[in-house]
């Protein structure tokens, strides 16, 4: 009985494999040139968010250059560290990439003590794709006209002011914690489960201010339902030409943007990295891809910033920058 059963099982499996083979498998060989099958790009966040949108726009064009489809796979969880961990542990063959960002490859070591990867050591950087600038915004009847008044008001009324953020580890949380640290203020933090609900309560005036990526905020600012004090980039954003930079508004040290960059697992061969980087550079120079990214309020990486080495330097400096800020905030 047992024997026939297992024989039947084997027959079943063999048939299943035949079905698989019949559907057309691409057999691999060492001789063939990379890439010979679709590439998976892990986006460590839920679909529809800023990182996901940027990944999809860039991946679409990169697919054309590489001659193979890049499949975006959303592996959300734990502030993006779940997907990044999976990418770090994947085979270094160039077929698994990850769209990391400021959180997963900058702030994560400070926020997650049990992090299973080192952003600087466990990845082979491919290149910086695009970033989205950070804005400081407040509810529309907040009693401060500009950034200077805002700082003065928050300092004077520290116990009254509520600051919203989209959850510990989110971009809005990290960047605003940096702002608080630089200003030396301690507002009451009101946590939300994402930018949407936080923005809702900012529009309806339940909370006083927050920091977040420009793409989420532009329509509200244009409609006048919230007001913007400053954008934390060296230059003004084309989508909000009336909002001053932090430098113009008197807070030059507050320079921060939610950058997104492609990483491969450590040990990925140099020629594959070079091919991927080239495809990325081509994508970032493509007219329609640029337009799509700029429409989002995104800032496309400049030419020297796109090399693997530049990305490596960025990761090292970001980890060094966020660790004291976020560790200090968490231990209070």
């Amino acid at each position: 009985m047992h024997k026939t059963l297992s024989r039947r099982l084997m027959a079943g499996l063999a048939a299943a494999m035949a079905v698989g083979a019949g559907l057309g498998l691409s057999l691999g060989g060492a001789a063939a040139a990379y890439p010979e099958r679709p590439i998976t790009m892990i986006v460590p966040f839920a679909a529809g968010g800023p990182t996901d949108v940027i990944a999809r726009i860039v991946a679409e064009n990169m697919s054309k250059t590489l001659g193979q489809q890049i499949i975006v796979e959303n592996v959300a969880g734990a502030g993006g560290t779940t997907g990044s961990t999976r990418a770090a542990q994947a085979a270094p063959d160039g077929y698994t990439l990850v769209m990391g960002h400021m959180g997963t490859h900058g702030a994560a070591p400070a926020l997650y003590p049990n992090l299973k990867y080192d952003p600087a050591k466990d990845f082979a950087p491919v290149g910086l794709a695009a970033g989205t600038p950070i804005l400081i915004v407040a509810k529309k009847d907040f009693p401060a006209k500009d950034l200077k008044e805002f700082v003065a008001y928050v300092k004077a009324n520290a116990d009254k002011v509520n600051q919203a953020h989209a959850g510990v580890g989110s971009v809005s949380h990290s960047t605003c914690t940096l702002l608080d640290a630089q200003l030396g203020i301690k507002p009451t933090l009101v946590p939300y489960g994402g930018t949407g609900p936080a923005l809702n309560d900012l529009v309806s005036g339940q909370v006083d201010f927050m920091c977040d990526q420009i793409v989420n905020l532009v329509p509200q600012i244009q409609a006048g339902t919230i007001k913007a004090y400053a954008v934390a980039t060296p230059e003004r954003s084309p989508s909000l030409p009336n909002v001053p930079t932090t430098k113009e508004a008197g807070l030059p040290d507050y320079q921060v943007s939610a950058w997104n960059a492609i990483f491969a697992p450590k040990g990925t061969p140099q020629d594959i990295i070079a091919k991927l980087n080239n495809a990325l550079v081509v994508a970032l120079d493509d007219e329609s891809t640029r337009k799509r990214l700029l429409d989002l309020g995104g800032v496309i990486a400049d030419k020297p910033g796109r090399s693997p080495q530049a990305l490596n330097d960025l990761v090292v400096s970001e980890v060094a920058r966020w660790t004291p800020v976020l560790k200090g905030a968490n231990s209070k």
């Binding site: 059963l5 039947r8 099982l9 027959a11 079943g12 499996l13 048939a15 299943a16 494999m17 079905v19 698989g20 083979a21 559907l23 057309g24 498998l25 691409s26 057999l27 691999g28 099958r37 998976t40 499949i71 975006v72 796979e73 077929y95």
Partner: protein, 167 residues
Amino acid sequence: MAQQEERSAATTVRHHIRGPQNFAAGLSLIGVSILAFWASSDLTQGSLRAMGPGMLPRTIATLLALCGFILIAISFVKDGAPLERWHMRGPFFVCLGLIAFAATVRTVGLAVAGPLLAIISGFASPETRIKELIIFAIAMTAFSVGLFKYGLNLPIPVFIIPGVVYY
């Protein structure tokens, strides 16, 4: 039949308990509550002004235990339903099948994981005819590949032999 026997056994051996199902239900609630207290023991309680992460889980666990004690109390004073028999065969093979699917879907691919799940879980039912099931499992898997991989474009691996085939 079996239920009848169990009922009579229950009433003679544990004749104090008049509602065995409620008694067991109450015990399980208390068990869950203890588990929750243990799992949340490292979380801070906080105050109303700044509720800690542990406040709500512990409050709920307390209420849950309270429900458990009331159920146990009722089981002593009031006749209730008897305990139902647990059938082990179904849960065992269905879960084994699901675990086999989980273990193979990313490592070998859907072409193997699908039939494996169907065939292992097939043992859960005494009515299963193995030949029919194997054919059906392969057909369902082929259909799923067509539907999920091609129709819906989901990134699900179909067949993998590490280093040789990846599809």
